[in-house]
């Protein structure tokens, strides 16, 4: 009963948090809502006329939507970059902010599911994917695996975040159920990206994807792109809230990204070498990726080159401690990595797989305006979810939002802050971000 009462109180307080905000908050929310409306209008048009309003056609039957989906699976999986140092190595600066990664995972998975939904021709038949009401082709189809692992990962992360927030709200440490869930989220994160990579590499008809190295490449690029977003988010949080985020945490994440990018570039290089040196028919997809074929210049070549150069530059910036710790070069690096991986796991992954087609046809795909609008809408929904989560979580993490009767005195707060500075293990006393993570 008590739990139920407190849960209701949390929901009420959370709602109050969402409707109270400054000009900046409302401006941001309004901007996102406009984008959602734009996307919804475009999607309505797509539902009415069919996917013919996109530029996808039989030779290139997946495009921008599936590219975004693939990229965002990586972002979702990257929460483990925070979870592992926080909970396996108990590294305090990151433990305090690990919940940000989990919330990002929730928002990213929601975007993933939306991107798949907007891509399918008969979304009203989605129940066919589920057991008992439908006929999932499990375990044969990797897509049915993907439905399983994506939903499982979403549920795990929703449980973790709500549990953490609730416990912090009532001034307690996470219960003993939290740790097993957090540990489970690590293989779950690996699984979503592995399964998504297998989705592609399981197709021997598409030599561009049918490579054993694809799943490792997915994982390493995910450990670059997701943290790149987290890096920028953490700095924004630090600026716009009272949340204390230590420089060490940010530098450590950047360092981990440098290693991930090194492996990512190595694996990509191995793939490129294999294809170009062998110089078989299969190399034609890589030719399309970098230049074009049959005398046509490929429309994606310029993005590919940008992606490769951006990734290399960002790698160097994050490798060298001086540029990693400089706020300007750090952010340049994060943006470059984000853009580099967004291209690599988006258009550069999907389109050359289909070009040339299995019968040698070259259909030059570029997303239509409707595809861009729908995608903007999906991203806006994801950002809205994330904004809401952060808006609710920040005061709880700061110890300012507590269930009635569980208030923190200033003395306790000061005591806590002192201890934080000394970097000692926190006592059971509530009221800091420690309790929230």
């Amino acid at each position: 009963m008590r739990t139920l009462r407190l849960s209701m109180a949390l929901i009420q307080d959370a709602f109050r948090q969402l409707v109270h905000g400054g000009k900046l908050y409302w401006g941001w929310v309004a901007f996102l809502c406009v984008l959602v409306a734009v996307g919804a209008q475009a999607y309505a048009e797509q539902l009415e006329h069919g996917l013919i309003v996109t530029n996808m056609r039989d030779p290139v039957s997946w495009g921008f939507y599936i590219g975004n989906f693939t990229f965002l699976v990586g972002v979702a999986a990257a929460a483990v970059v925070l979870i592992i140092p926080a909970y396996i190595y108990h590294w305090k600066p990151i433990k305090e902010i690990a919940i940000v990664g989990e919330m990002l995972a929730v928002a990213a998975i929601i975007m993933c599911l939306l991107f798949v939904t907007v891509d399918i021709g008969r979304p009203e038949r989605f129940l066919h994917l589920f057991p008992f009401v439908g006929r999932p082709n499990f375990p044969q189809s990797l897509l049915s695996w993907d439905v399983l692992v994506l939903n499982a990962y979403l549920i795990i992360n929703v449980l973790i975040t709500t549990h953490m927030l609730f416990r912090a709200y009532i001034g307690r440490k996470p219960s003993r159920f939290a740790m097993p869930l957090i540990l489970l989220s690590i293989p779950a994160a690996v699984s979503i990206h592995t399964v998504t990579a297998f989705l592609f590499s399981a197709l021997p008809s598409r030599p561009y994807w049918n490579a054993a190295i694809l799943a490792p490449r997915f994982l390493t690029s995910a450990f670059c792109s997701g943290p790149a977003i987290i890096l920028i988010l953490l700095q924004l949080l630090r600026k716009f809230s009272d949340l204390k985020i230590k420089d060490e945490a940010i530098w450590k994440i950047a360092e981990l990204m440098a290693y991930a990018m090194a492996i990512n570039l190595f694996l990509f290089g191995a793939e490129v070498f294999r294809d170009f040196y062998s110089d078989t028919h299969e190399a034609i997809h890589y030719q399309y990726l970098f230049w074009g074929t049959h005398g046509h210049r490929s429309p994606i070549a310029i993005y590919t080159w940008f992606s490769v150069i951006a990734s290399v530059v960002a790698f160097l910036l994050f490798l060298v401690p001086r540029t990693r710790k400089n706020v300007i070069t750090l952010n340049i690096g994060a943006v470059l990595i984000y853009m580099g991986v967004y291209i690599e796991k988006g258009v550069a992954l999907v389109i050359p797989g289909f070009t040339p087609s299995v019968t040698g046809e070259i259909y030059e795909y570029e997303p239509s305006f409707i595809e861009f609008r729908v995608a903007a809408g999906v991203f806006a929904i994801g950002f809205l979810v994330f904004t809401a989560l952060i808006k609710i979580a920040t005061p709880i993490m700061l110890g300012r939002l507590r269930a009635k009767g569980i208030t923190v005195t200033d003395d306790e707060q000061d005591e806590q802050d002192e201890q934080d500075e000394q970097d000692e293990p926190a006592p059971a006393a509530p009221g800091t971000a420690e309790a929230a993570t």
Partner: protein, 303 residues
């Protein structure tokens, strides 16, 4: 829900029934405004789960819908595979002249969308000097007269694989291999994810990107549930060897129309069939044999 008509056990049926009810309850609000037909379509079962009465009911409903839609009586059959029959196809690339009559006979027979145009057969123009080389094939050749000097023609449609990658990847079992070897699709079950199109090594699967258009005067009213019944937006379709014809002992439309007799069709299990004659006496090859798809579509050089 009765148990006797299903191959699944009673317990499973009960659970399924419960969940279907739960799903139904969730959808009620959404569907309250829909028509009876739309509601039926939303909750309908997979083709293979239908019992005799349900199948008859489904076919009758479709016949009513199509008859109303096209203003002429439609027949929707569901003839099952014949015993001891495995369909096979053989195509003589030495004879094919690239006239594309097969392409259009197929469209007339199978009620594909006219605008946007949807073709099951792609005739590829190839360079004689290069041989069978898909990387240098041209599906969009425009010629005053065929065959063109220095070229030969290579029609590709569904190869009706014994080991079909499209069936393996379909997340909802909307496509499967029939006992007579035809790879079929339930258009009412397909969710339009197009994973099968990514998996098919032959580009045989086609998607209805827009709403299919079929003028009433061009519609073929003699249809099969798994074949040429009028199509819908947002689902995948493909060649079925003209399932509505071959299961009644007729040739596929493309075989009948071919002016040079390049197309042969028959029962692979019958040693006296045309297709077996070709396999026994000519040298045949299959497309992309390295992918282990094991097609039942054989190419040969007839001279």
């Amino acid at each position: 829900m009765s148990c006797s008509d299903s191959t699944t056990g009673c317990a499973d049926e009960g659970r399924r029934g419960f969940l279907q009810t739960a799903a139904a309850a969730a959808g009620v609000a959404m569907l309250a405004s829909c028509s009876e037909e739309a509601r039926e379509a939303f909750f309908q079962k997979h083709f293979k789960e239908l019992n005799k009465e349900e199948l008859a009911e489904r076919l009758a409903r479709l016949e009513r819908t199509y008859t109303k839609q096209f203003g002429k009586p439609f027949k929707v059959g569901a003839e099952p595979a014949m015993e001891e029959v495995l369909f096979g196809y053989a195509l003589d690339i030495a004879r094919c002249i690239g006239c594309r009559r097969c392409v259009y006979a197929c469209v007339d027979e199978n009620n594909q969308s006219r605008d946007p145009q949807l073709h099951y057969i792609q005739v590829l123009e190839m360079d004689k000097a290069k041989g069978v080389d898909l990387a240098h094939a041209d599906p969009y050749y425009e010629a005053e007269q065929v065959p063109r000097e220095g070229h030969f023609y290579f029609p590709v449609a569904c190869q009706q694989c014994e080991n079909p990658p499209c069936v393996k990847v379909c997340p909802v079992q909307a496509t499967w291999k029939e006992p007579d070897g035809i790879v079929a699709i339930d258009y009412d079950w397909c969710i339009g994810c197009r994973y099968c199109m990514a998996a098919c090594p032959y580009g045989a699967r086609k998607f209805n990107w827009g709403p299919p258009t079929l003028p009433a005067d061009q519609a073929n009213p003699d249809t099969h549930y798994l074949g040429n019944r009028p199509r819908q937006k947002g689902v995948v379709e493909k060649c079925t060897f003209c399932i509505q014809r071959v299961r009644k002992g007729q040739y596929p439309a493309c075989v009948e129309v071919c002016p040079v007799g390049a197309r042969k069709f028959g029962n692979l299990l019958d040693p006296d069939s045309e297709v077996r004659y070709v396999i026994d006496r000519k040298r045949v090859f299959i497309l992309k044999e390295d992918l282990n798809t094991n097609p039942k579509f054989f190419y040969f050089y007839g001279v």
